[in-house]
């Protein structure tokens, strides 16, 4: 029974990890931007959640929506003001830019929120559980997993059923031709980065309800995002989802076996995947249909 519980908890964490990876892969697939500050935006969302809950009487759900909107605006601004100036065949300027941004963000977190380890307290919901045939499952993990799966589903619908979604995929394939059909490349990039940051930020906020974070947690989050993308395959929605679940389950089960292991087992599993699959890093870059 303990194993079942651990696996289900792993799904919950894994759904969020999948969203970390999705945000990173989405930005890379469309703009070819490796966003080194990706993890720091995830942490920023958690801090925003902490502050909104502490300073305003807003209910939790509204706070989540607010953080999502702020994250979209930040992603949009990041692309419009900084990254659109680094477009071109060379990916290094965007990497250096976001690396600098990452350093700025981390230090800003320490300055504004202090260096303490934090988590989001959501009161009674935290410990509520349901009993299924002797297996107790937390209500919160269930809600979080449903939210993550729902976001993946919504992304799938967006990418396949809407004009902007098709334009995102087309931009990943051939942005020049997209321009000749009347689409403004920069505006599409702005929206894509907004969406990428939103997905991961919401996941970061939800994760902060289950585990703690510090101003420097961004590096760990970024590492997880990279691992998810590499396990799941670049440019695949489904790959990110299952890559995240895999990593989450391994990590949580590993923690049950050895409570001091931290993220060790997740990283080990990733290493094994690398060894066994002889991964070809120069994968097709396009954002494929999932």
């Amino acid at each position: 029974m303990i194993v079942v519980e651990a696996v289900l908890n792993g799904f919950m964490v894994g759904g969020l990890y999948g969203l970390f990876g999705l945000g990173l892969a989405f930005a890379f697939g469309i703009m070819r931007v490796v966003n080194i500050a990706h993890g720091d935006f995830i942490v920023l969302a958690a801090y925003l959640g902490v502050s909104l809950l502490a300073l305003t009487p807003l209910p939790l759900l509204v706070v989540v929506v607010c953080v999502a909107l702020i994250a979209f605006a930040l992603g949009w601004l990041l692309q419009a003001t900084l990254l659109n100036r680094t477009l071109g065949p060379n990916p290094v300027p965007a990497m250096v830019t976001t690396m600098g941004l990452s350093i700025i963000l981390r230090n800003a977190f320490v300055k504004i929120w202090g260096a303490d380890i934090r988590s989001i307290d959501i009161g009674a919901l935290q410990n509520k559980g349901l009993d299924f045939w002797g297996v107790s499952i937390g209500v919160l993990p269930l809600i979080i997993f449903a939210a993550a799966a729902g976001l993946f589903g919504a992304m799938h619908l967006l990418l396949t059923r809407t004009t902007i979604g098709r334009a995102f995929r087309a931009a990943a394939d051939d942005f020049e031709i997209l321009e000749t059909l009347g689409f403004n490349r920069r505006r599409i990039y702005n929206a894509a980065m907004g969406l990428a940051i939103t997905l991961s930020a919401v996941a970061g906020l939800l994760l902060a309800m289950r585990s703690s974070f510090s101003p420097y947690a961004g590096a760990e989050r970024l590492l997880i995002a990279f691992e998810v993308v590499i396990i799941g395959g670049l440019g695949s929605l489904r790959g990110c989802f299952f890559g995240g679940l895999f990593l989450g389950v391994v990590q949580v089960v590993g923690l049950r076996l050895n409570p001091d292991s931290g993220p060790l087992f997740g990283h080990l599993a990733f290493f094994l995947v690398l060894l066994t699959r002889q991964w070809n890093i120069s994968l097709p870059l396009a954002w494929r249909r999932s």
């Binding site: 990943a172 394939d173 031709i177 321009e179 059909l181 396009a286 954002w287």
Partner: protein, 235 residues
């Protein structure tokens, strides 16, 4: 009425100059062929017109308005469409999704999804397939349909016949009668000079980035085209 004029246009790729003082005009509803050898600057000219590679000198006017230096997407929405060399369909989208992208920012006009399926009835059969999976000839149909769906006033076609079987090429060219009937003007860039001459009203020949022939297609003799195509030294 004149739809498009190029006046003394110089296009550069970095420090490399690709065209030298090219001037040409396209009247409303006519078909103009641009022929020339590999590297003569034909594709460059099309890229300059639609704004992908803006000219460094010279002026381009669309229906009297200067469009030099406008962003590509703006020029596209003013009524210029490109059927690019090598088709360049969005490979991870289905055929119909490619068409929907073409229609998404369209000007008002006669071309709808329904209309392009009527133009290429075969396209209906493979519309659910991934664009990367269909044959070259099928891809060419989709590329033409995608460009038409923007309801352009000017359709730029780059090397339609490249890599296709003669039968397929003939089929595709047969559809141009229908396309012209919708009132759109066409620029045909071709290496196949005979086909280009036979399916156009007027003819320009480029040689190393310069216009070497500018004539009504019917009056252009083979000898004249040969000399314009290869330069005088070959004569």
């Amino acid at each position: 009425m004149t739809l498009l004029t190029l006046d003394d246009v110089d296009v550069f790729y970095g420090d490399l100059q690709a065209t030298f003082g090219v001037s040409l005009r396209i009247e409303e509803g006519e078909t103009v062929a641009v022929i020339g050898a590999n590297g003569a600057g034909k594709s460059t000219l099309l890229r300059a017109i639609i704004g992908l590679t803006p000219p460094r000198r010279g002026e381009i006017r669309l229906a009297g308005n200067v469009i030099t230096g406008l962003p590509c997407d703006v020029i596209a929405r003013l009524g210029v469409a490109l059927v690019p060399e090598g088709r360049r369909l969005f490979a991870s989208l289905s055929v119909e999704e490619n068409l929907l992208i073409g229609a998404a920012r369209a000007r008002p006009g006669p071309w709808s999804l329904e209309a392009v399926y009527r133009l290429f009835p075969a396209m209906r059969e493979f519309r659910r397939q991934a664009a990367a999976e269909i044959s070259g000839g099928q891809q060419q149909m989709v590329a033409i349909a995608r460009a038409l769906l923007t309801n352009p006033r000017l359709l730029l076609c780059d090397e339609l016949s490249l890599g296709l079987a003669p039968k397929v090429i003939a089929d595709i060219y047969a559809c141009f009668v229908e396309i012209l009937r919708s009132g759109v003007a066409i620029v045909l860039v071709e290496q196949d000079t005979v086909r280009a001459r036979d399916s156009s009203n007027r003819l320009y020949c480029l040689l190393k980035g310069k216009v070497t022939l500018d004539k009504a297609s019917r009056q252009a003799s083979r000898e004249e085209i040969r000399r314009a195509y290869f330069g005088d030294r070959a004569a």
